[in-house]
């Protein structure tokens, strides 16, 4: 429980631009980051507009250099299944790709901010996630991907733009919903190079990120209460932090600090390295079978289940905050750009803001604008900024007190009503039940008895429901009274009470596996494959058996290095025991059945004898 103090704020007469500037975030990037928030106008002028047709061909609508935000929003017709998209980097031949990759290497050598991954993400997962990771990488060949040379060309193009006119821009919007004033800061990046630059999940042209500050009116001023960032793998209330939550939220005066993921640009409250997990698309039937097996594992075999999803690939989102810092009083300052639904490029262009890579699971396709999803449907964070952070159910603090008082008053009145009603109904029930009893043994009153019995049963239910309501109301009233008292005394809920799953960086102790474990993680998959090859060459008759032994040895060996030996050896032993049990049942089902029957007979006999002797 925290105690309120004089809250910070600005006059409620402030203009939208003044409001945005008063609370604009500070964004701290990771060293080695290549893309920073920019204005869409310059980006669009560097793009061409394309149309993907449902018959699987792409058509250039407007060439690079001829496009402006005005031309972008001109109405255009297209068939169902078509996709309008921008291309920041045009199609490249082999020679251009090689030139771009070489130029990127030169640029990296010149740049001051260099990225070093340190320990790879592979050391943080076991052998199975590593196998899945290899498969996941292989699927990119089939799914459609943004070529690495495109990423290199995008870096060069963006660097050239910044050299001509260095600017760091956010697109700000102010909305008023449900008693809240919301300042939304939309950050637009020319490219997301998480995969090609930082060992992440995906690459795509263009990227939108969002930070919001939620204010409420108090007296003549607007007071900040919540801050919400768009963070991977989290949603609803878990996205926001209260202004006084100093354990997680860093403030520079009135400016919340965002730690941006390298390449991914996902926003985090605290600096660090975050483990993001990409769930693999597993068919529903397979999931159902897995659930049955997990139930059997937990309930029948009495085994512990950690809740880990085996079909996921761990990735690291590096949000170290050790690179360029942009914002008030930082190395670079913001240039604000006001937007609203009336801004034409926001509302009138529903296409993608970068390359449509035809990736069916969308990881490599560019996103749409701030107002829309990739399929052109409205984006929740735009049309429902309160619901986006699960604030639609939270009134601003001054309103909450009034609401609570009114609600408590209504409930207290109902309680008084119940205090009178319950004894009256209970008495009526007893009267009717007595009358019902007096009808017993009189066959000529059978029909009346039946009717009255129904009434008595109904009334009994009513009385039970009223007593329940009264009892529940009493408890609710108590809790409301306590909350009111706390409110009046100026005490508030714990600032983290609303958080269910917080995005937290992986603790350093967990990240720093021993050198041997790191080495093993790097080598194990290759060792396994080389071992299989050696077995096929030198012992083809025993290859399959050899692979099984090799796999078990690798899994158990790695578990020793990762300090998970007990868990691993238990799992392996139980799986082997189940296989052995099936073999034994298959060959010895008759003796097993007979032994079972004899055992059951002896058990039942012993039980009965004990009962007889009792």
């Amino acid at each position: 429980m925290s105690t309120s103090h004089d809250p910070p704020g600005i006059p409620s007469t402030a203009t939208e631009l003044e409001l945005l500037r008063a609370f604009e975030p500070v964004v701290r990037f990771t060293s080695g980051e290549q893309f920073f928030p920019m204005d869409v106008e310059r980006y669009v002028e560097g793009c061409g507009l394309w149309l993907y047709h449902p018959d699987d061909h792409d058509q250039q609508m407007i060439a690079e250099g001829a496009l402006t935000t005005e031309r972008l929003v001109e109405p255009r017709k297209a068939a169902f299944g078509s996709v309008f998209y921008l291309r920041f980097v045009g199609p490249m031949g082999i020679e251009a790709s090689a030139r771009a990759l070489a130029a990127l290497q030169r640029l990296k050598r010149q740049q001051q901010h260099v990225f070093r991954a340190g320990l790879g993400r592979l050391a943080r997962g076991g052998l199975v996630p590593r196998l899945l990771d290899a498969l996941f990488s292989a699927t990119l060949l089939l799914r459609g991907r943004v070529p690495k040379a495109t990423a290199a060309a995008a870096v060069l193009e963006y660097a050239a733009m910044q050299e001509r006119d260095e600017r760091y821009v956010y697109h700000g919007r102010v909305v008023r919903h449900g008693g809240w004033t919301i300042c939304q800061y939309w950050f637009f990046f020319a490219y997301n190079n998480w995969r090609s630059g930082f060992y992440g999940v995906n690459d795509h042209e263009s990227d939108w990120e969002l930070a919001s500050v939620y204010l409420y009116e108090q007296g003549e001023g607007l007071v900040p209460e919540w801050v919400a960032f768009a963070s991977h793998d989290f949603h609803g209330a878990d996205l926001r932090r209260r202004w006084d939550d100093s354990s997680d939220l860093t403030l520079e005066g009135l400016h919340p600090v965002v730690h941006a993921g390298a390449g991914s640009h996902a926003s985090y409250f605290a600096p660090g390295e975050y483990q993001a997990e990409v769930p693999l698309p597993v068919p529903q039937r397979v999931k159902e079978v897995l659930e049955v097996l997990q139930r059997f594992w937990r309930r029948t075999l009495g085994q512990f289940r950690s809740g880990d999803n085996p079909f996921r690939v761990p990735f690291i989102d590096f949000a170290r905050g050790d690179g360029l810092s942009v914002g008030p009083g930082q190395e670079r300052e913001w240039t604000p750009n006001l937007i609203a639904e009336t801004t034409r490029w926001v509302s009138a262009y529903r296409g993608l803001w970068g390359l449509y890579a035809q990736d069916p699971i969308s990881g490599e396709n560019a996103p749409a604008g701030p107002m829309y999803n990739r399929d052109g449907s409205p984006r929740a964070s735009w049309f429902d900024p309160l619901g986006f952070a699960a604030l639609d159910r939270v009134p601003p603090p001054p309103l909450e007190l009034k609401m609570l008082e009114a609600d408590r008053g209504a409930l207290a009145a109902r309680q008084e009503e119940l205090d009178a009603l319950v004894p009256r109904q209970a008495e009526a029930l007893q009267e009717r039940a007595t009358r019902l009893e007096s009808m017993e043994g009189n066959p000529h009153l059978a029909r009346q008895h039946e009717r009255l019995a129904e009434q008595v049963a109904k009334l009994a239910e009513e009385v039970k429901a009223l007593r329940r309501e009264r009892s529940e109301n009493e408890a609710v009233l108590e809790s409301m009274t306590r909350r009111l008292e706390r409110h009046r005394a100026g005490r508030r809920e714990h600032p983290r009470a609303h958080i269910r799953h917080a995005a937290e960086p992986v603790p350093p102790a967990q990240m720093r596996f021993s050198r041997a474990a790191e080495l093993f993680a790097a080598l194990s998959l290759s060792l396994l494959l080389l071992g299989v090859a050696a077995l096929v060459i030198f012992a083809p008759d025993r290859a399959l058996a050899g692979v099984v032994v090799l796999l078990i040895a690798l899994v158990v060996g790695e578990s020793i290095l990762r300090a998970t030996f007990v868990r691993t050896v238990n799992r392996v032993a139980v799986i082997l025991a189940l296989v052995a049990a099936v073999i034994l049942l298959f060959h010895f089902w008759k003796p097993v059945l007979l032994a079972g029957l004899v055992g059951l007979a002896v058990f039942l006999l012993a039980q009965r004898i004990r009962e007889l002797r009792a």
Binding site: L301, G302, Q303, F304, R542, L544, A545, V548, V549, I552, V556, F565, V566, V569, N570, V572, A573, V574, L576, A577, V579, A580, A581, I583, L584, H587, F588
Partner: protein, 125 residues
């Protein structure tokens, strides 16, 4: 499990002692192996009786090796030792449940789900 281990250990020790006593070179290695194995199994039996976590780990490791060996023999050679397979299966199914792991100090009790559905009308609505 402790009794089973003690039995197997004593048996191995006896075989080992007898083999060494013969004084024949070809049986010496076999005898030393049985002696070492018997001593190890006896120690594991004592450890299991005293609910030591290392004894649990030793049993399970031994079971993994034994079961892998017998299953591979079954799949590729067709002549497994069914008695060995059955003993190892029984050992694993007896030693692996969560409650047993808690007893051996391998897991914390808060990981054990103790809630059971009730049939008491006082606890139902």
């Amino acid at each position: 499990m402790a009794a089973l281990a003690a039995g197997v250990g004593l048996y191995s020790l006896t075989v080992g002692v007898l083999a060494v006593q013969t004084g024949q070179d070809d049986r010496l290695v076999d005898g030393i192996f049985h002696l070492a194995f018997g001593l190890g199994t006896l120690a594991a039996g004592v450890g299991a009786f005293r609910l030591r976590s290392w004894a649990w780990a030793a049993f399970m490791t031994w079971a993994v090796i034994g079961l892998t060996h017998q299953i591979l023999r079954y799949l590729f050679l067709g002549d497994p030792n069914y008695v060995d397979m059955a003993i190892n299966t029984f050992a694993v199914l007896a030693m692996s449940p969560l409650e047993v792991q808690v007893a051996f100090g391998l897991r914390h009790t808060q990981n054990v789900h103790l809630a059971r559905p009730t049939r008491n009308p006082l606890d139902r609505d």
